[in-house]
């Protein structure tokens, strides 16, 4: 019994180590592609959020000569004033066509209105459909409001009134999230990458050892040998599992390396992802291997050809992400019931690990146990299906 299993297992490992497609999906697709995509997305969002404060913003102004003080104030806020279009109509057109993101128009009587303490009118042209322009417009509006408040305070002081009467309420925003906690929101998507890498690692082996074997015509001679089909199937699932485990390990390690080089602290995040967490995450996700391997073998043995198997397994690759997605959208907290759902339980526990929060031993036990039970169940179904005559197609 074990000899057959080991023989099949070793053959599948050697066979697939020599297959460029299997190897690429195990070593490159999941483990390398995931972290790279992740690094790209994160650095993009870091750049965007840092843009606001640091970069000099250009603001075309029409009629800058009517408000020299305002212009000086804006320049002190790192806004570079340039000469705008000739008149307000031209300004509106320039924003509409995208020539400028935002244009400030100061009318001729701005100074006079200010002197007469009539609310002095300025016009800020922007295009709400243009996201980049929206950010610039918000920044200009913030700067103008600040100038507005400053003038108001000066006027009140001049009349002998404390400017604080205009601030009956003071709002203090206190964010209780820890740097690790903030990381979890963004890094929550990491668990998806791990499960993706895990499945990708074994995908081609699962297809090759069932649908591929049938398509090549090597399945029928194999089934005519004096071994049981269950033994053959278990050997194949075991080989698939080893490729998956390898892919998962690589994926965890490459994330570990990538995170070291990411300027996450600039976003106020310090994910708890040291080597100890890498090891813990591996053992947390490892029970998913049996489930994934048997699921992919099951799907591949249903299908008639390599291509058909590939199509269906791509669907399987998406399935474990659905619970993660739903929980992320609804921002649900870990609950006992969730721990019975494979992929979801691993995701929630992993997020807690990254947040560096105390882990619930019961939750982990249920997650491991229920995932293994699901895996064993699917393996059993798989063995049943392997005994069908229709397996030969």
């Amino acid at each position: 019994m074990t000899r057959t299993l080991v023989t099949v297992f070793l053959k599948e490992i050697v066979d697939n180590l020599r297959d460029r497609r299997s190897l690429a999906s195990a070593l490159i697709m999941g483990p390398i592609f995931g972290p790279l995509l992740f690094a790209f997305v994160i650095s993009l969002s870091i750049e965007r959020s840092l843009d606001d404060v640091e970069e000099t913003m250009e603001l075309p102004v029409v009629g800058r000569e009517y408000a020299p003080n305002l212009v000086r104030y804006l320049e002190s806020r790192n806004i570079e004033i340039t000469d705008g279009p000739a008149d307000p109509d031209a300004a509106a057109a320039a924003v509409r066509t995208g020539l400028h993101d935002v244009v400030l128009v100061i009318p001729e009587d701005f100074g006079a209105q200010l002197a007469a303490t009539i609310p002095a009118r300025v016009k800020l042209y922007s295009d709400g459909a243009n996201t980049q322009g929206g950010r610039e417009a918000r920044r200009a509006t913030r700067a103008l409001s600040a100038y507005n408040r400053e003038l108001a305070a000066i006027r009140l002081s001049a009349r002998g009134i404390n400017p604080l009467v205009l601030r009956p309420i003071n709002i203090d925003d206190i964010d209780v999230s820890t740097p690790s906690g903030r990381s979890a929101m963004l890094l929550g998507m990491m668990s998806y990458f791990f499960i993706f890498a895990l499945l990708m690692g074994g995908m081609y082996l699962a297809i090759d050892s069932t649908a591929g074997e049938r398509e090549r015509g090597s399945l029928e001679p194999l089934l005519s040998l004096p071994v049981t089909r269950t033994q053959l199937m278990l050997g194949k699932i075991a080989a698939t599992g080893v490729f998956m485990a390898f892919s998962l390990m690589l994926s965890l390690l490459s994330f570990y390396v990538v995170l070291k080089f990411m300027p996450l602290e600039k976003l106020g995040m310090t994910p708890n992802f040291d080597l100890a967490v890498v090891v813990a995450a591996f053992f947390l996700l490892a029970p998913f291997i049996l489930l994934g391997a048997s699921l992919m073998t099951l799907v591949a043995s249903f299908t008639k050809s390599y291509k058909e198997a590939q199509t269906w397994i791509s669907v399987v690759l998406i399935a474990p992400t659905l619970p993660i997605l739903i929980v992320s959208i609804l921002t649900l907290r870990p609950q006992l019931e969730f721990m019975f759902v494979p992929s979801l339980s691993q995701h929630l526990i992993l997020v807690d690990m990254i947040k560096n929060e105390p882990l619930n031993g019961l939750h982990i036990a249920i997650s491991v146990f229920s995932t293994l039970v699901f895996g064993a169940l699917l393996t059993w179904v798989c063995a049943r299906l392997y005994r069908r005559e229709g397996l030969l197609g």
């Binding site: 023989t7 029928e220 005519s224």
Partner: protein, 242 residues
């Protein structure tokens, strides 16, 4: 020794086998002859146990292929129609894999693989990966794979398909060697001449039933045709007339 007794097998509405009976004794070559779609492959698949008969009984060396399929398979070396190899493994690795699965002991494994490689004259390409092998090379490796555990009963489903003259000749020599070693060889083909040149007994199958099961001379006599091809056609018409 292979025995087939009134085997029935249907696929959906198609009756592939409608009570096929024949016997293939040890030390003889038995030919299964029939037009395409007659049921030759189906009966062989029942024998090497990848298909389960709906009705009837079949045995290999007295072992029921349904009740004890594992033991029956141990007595069989099968070459299914269009058998494929593992392209990433060498010919030797393909053969060794099957030998291990057949339970060939570690101590004799390498010797046995070497012997079969010598017997089938595939030493020149035994250590090359099988990707890109010619049809003849592939058939020889598949055959080596099926025979490596030295089975008493050999089932070959259209083994000469796609082989050139030289390859066909060496395959014929090999089958004769198996016969001389006292093996039971069951061999299917749709080419009359090939079967006539090789077989001791011929079982002509048409439309899922046995039309004639006899020696070559017996078939000539019963159909009244001297030419074997005419005899083949006459036998098939016999079935159609029923």
């Amino acid at each position: 020794m292979i025995k087939v007794d009134r085997i029935h097998k249907s696929f959906g509405n198609v009756q592939a086998l409608r009570g096929v009976s024949f016997a293939a004794p040890d030390g003889k070559i038995t030919g299964l002859l029939g037009p395409n779609g007659a049921g030759k492959s189906t009966i062989m698949r029942v024998l090497y146990t990848v298909l389960r008969p709906d009705k009837g009984y079949a045995s290999v060396d007295g072992i029921d292929v349904v009740a004890d399929s594992l033991a029956a398979r141990r007595r069989i070396g099968a070459l299914p129609h269009g058998a494929g190899l593992y392209p990433h493994l060498t010919a030797r690795e393909n053969i060794t894999y099957f030998a291990r699965l057949c339970g060939v002991e570690k101590g004799v494994l390498d010797d046995q693989v070497d012997n079969i490689i010598k017997l089938l004259e595939i030493g020149d390409f035994a250590d090359r990966r099988t990707k890109g092998f010619s049809q003849g090379q592939r058939t020889k490796v598949s055959l080596a794979r099926a025979l490596v555990h030295d089975p008493q009963n050999v089932i070959l489903d259209e083994p000469t398909n796609g082989l050139d003259v030289m390859a066909t000749r060496s395959l014929r020599d090999l089958i004769l060697k198996l016969k001389d070693a006292g093996r039971c060889v069951l061999f299917s083909s749709h080419v009359m001449q090939e079967v006539a040149a090789l077989c001791d007994d011929i079982c002509i199958i048409a439309d899922g039933v046995v039309a004639i099961d006899d020696s070559i001379d017996g078939i000539r006599e019963r159909t009244g045709c001297d030419d074997l091809e005419d005899a083949f056609v006459a036998a098939i018409h016999l079935v159609a007339a029923e």
